[in-house]
Symmetry: C3
Subunit: 288 residues, 3 copies
Amino acid sequence: LSTLPDLEASRPDTIFFLSDYGLHDEFVGVVHAVLRRLSPGARVIDLAHHLRPFDVRNAAFLLARAIPFLGPGVVLGVVDPEVGGARRGIVLGTVARGSPQWFVGPDNGLLVGAAERSGAIETAVALSSTPAGGWSVPASFDGRDLFAPAAAALCGGVPVDTLGLRIDPATLVRLAEPVAERGVLADGRRCIRTEVLWVDRFGNVKLGITVDPELAELLALDVEIAATLERPGGGSFVMRAVRTFADLSDEELGVMADADGNLAVVARERSAALLLDVGPGDLFELSW
Amino acid sequence: LSTLPDLEASRPDTIFFLSDYGLHDEFVGVVHAVLRRLSPGARVIDLAHHLRPFDVRNAAFLLARAIPFLGPGVVLGVVDPEVGGARRGIVLGTVARGSPQWFVGPDNGLLVGAAERSGAIETAVALSSTPAGGWSVPASFDGRDLFAPAAAALCGGVPVDTLGLRIDPATLVRLAEPVAERGVLADGRRCIRTEVLWVDRFGNVKLGITVDPELAELLALDVEIAATLERPGGGSFVMRAVRTFADLSDEELGVMADADGNLAVVARERSAALLLDVGPGDLFELSW
Amino acid sequence: LSTLPDLEASRPDTIFFLSDYGLHDEFVGVVHAVLRRLSPGARVIDLAHHLRPFDVRNAAFLLARAIPFLGPGVVLGVVDPEVGGARRGIVLGTVARGSPQWFVGPDNGLLVGAAERSGAIETAVALSSTPAGGWSVPASFDGRDLFAPAAAALCGGVPVDTLGLRIDPATLVRLAEPVAERGVLADGRRCIRTEVLWVDRFGNVKLGITVDPELAELLALDVEIAATLERPGGGSFVMRAVRTFADLSDEELGVMADADGNLAVVARERSAALLLDVGPGDLFELSW
């Protein structure tokens, strides 16, 4: 339970804010206002707020893939279907230097994978429910009342131990990993079975498998890939391994390494997700 | 018509920006750019921009409930169906310390309730239509051309009297208060008749009644509440008084004090508004 | 190929960010994070991100009309259907003082019109594909990997020639100008034939024609304007020249100079676009 001196000594000045609050209400703005009041010098960067309400797993994937690009700071993550219930609020601190060192939010699996992508978890604290913001606290807006004040406190150099009690990182709630199986079919073809993690605004279909050197080599070969969508009426599709969208004709489906290093199914200036009628959780078998 | 010396001496450095501009167009971004140019050091916090176009009353409620969390600064509020017409542009100054002291926008009821929640109105000025931004001014984008320059001027310490002429706060346009009646039914049951103010992103139904100590006591008792929706085909519902979402089973409707201290009808990880088919303006009778 | 000394010496501290990334994904947030890391002191202003995916022409019009209000800085514009393909990444520098001097993004017509509205193009550079951000670079997120680092470098005072090779501005890709024809009909009536450029959130229909003094005079006269929508089933409409929305009755369609100085078709607290069933690209003939 020791802490690196320089984690405690860090005075982060950037807060990365992720939630399922949407922008329809004043929730995101009010959290910004609280952060401004409690930590006037911090810059707040909105990572995403239009996440599917209550979908912790999708939010956790999004946060983890953003980590390599964030720089040092505090991640404030709030997708929190059990707000007011028994789940803990937590602060995680990592040994990271060039990426976020602190993670604040509910203990429901949202933060732990991203924290570990940032660096080894050095510190884990269960937030005291004592409000740090100075107002009376209802049970339904911990983003404003508990998590934002804790994030601001970390920016202000408040020792993490004043925010709650140390907990064993092994007790943190964890989510199921994405389906990502690799093998060989009876006919000798190589095969991947994986899950749709995300459909982006352009309809690109992000799969739950990372492009390793072997896959990168395959994608460089301009091969045909057979894809089967594992669900009633899912169908089979022929796709082409490509480097980027511009390598596709208007009629083709492509498989490429996307900007996060995941395998993705794409089309050219069209939505692959609409063409295939897929969304998060759907399973693909790809073979070549 | 005197002014407190320290209101005049304040140099706010935060602007809270609320509008019905949406984020589909460049309107919000251009207002930010104008504020950046005219008041480079001010931080601009977006409270909400996806408000229903022209719906001044809903915007006024949203702004008023955000006030306790905002900290000192200037509220720039623009929901302005009569832009270019005869309605006045106004600046209101309050005696507040820990919350916004200045309010800039149209005189259509949007600002006055929020200003009074912030503190007593000390100063009211009708904005001169002379452009403060330095460009020729059309009649349809006062948020950019009149209100943002006025907000920036206040941040810069410009005396409010240079922005226009003092007016009597009694002449400010005011909106109807929410329906919020309390009584006793013929059979002795206590009863509340109130209006739906807002449906949030999660489908929680915010009602136009504040949770006072008597209601708080009721909500702590785990009682059943009978709800009637007053409209053709509205129907009757049984709800349960709860402290938070997590106290509900998946099938129940709950009544709780929401994060703003309003009474709200909620469900667990589902939209109460969709279940009940209600929206702003619908009337509920609750009894117990 | 000389450069004004004071363009090179400028150290802009504001980045205006425009994209078709939407806010559904983490793309915009990650670009903000990259800018924060590489240029910690710069302020980033979001101009618009909900642009129609891949619609370069609409984005170019939006950016050009925002220019007069932006103040000095760097425009980071990313609507980039050919990302990863053969199109160049560019930096344009203009002689502007009070408006953006630098423009960074793809060479597909998005930037050049806006840059020229800002000032004469003094410098044009084709971005080297060498990543400036310090991570390995896929071929599908140049906003994050190439353009944001270049914008940050300009804010940091890095000489533009270190970012790539000079190119001839005459070689920049340009888009078709809006349809904007003026003439006289057989019966002597004056006539304008023009294109719908944009429909804003309120349903106002922005046309591809600028209000010059002659048109301004017409609009001041309260005349009737006959409008024909040039498409099968388009129909004919009577509109009234007005100064602003508030001059219209609830039943009327109006023609006015909008806040950008374009001619626009409007209604009062209703969507003119819905009433007329029009969108970008539709052609109107107006006569009086």
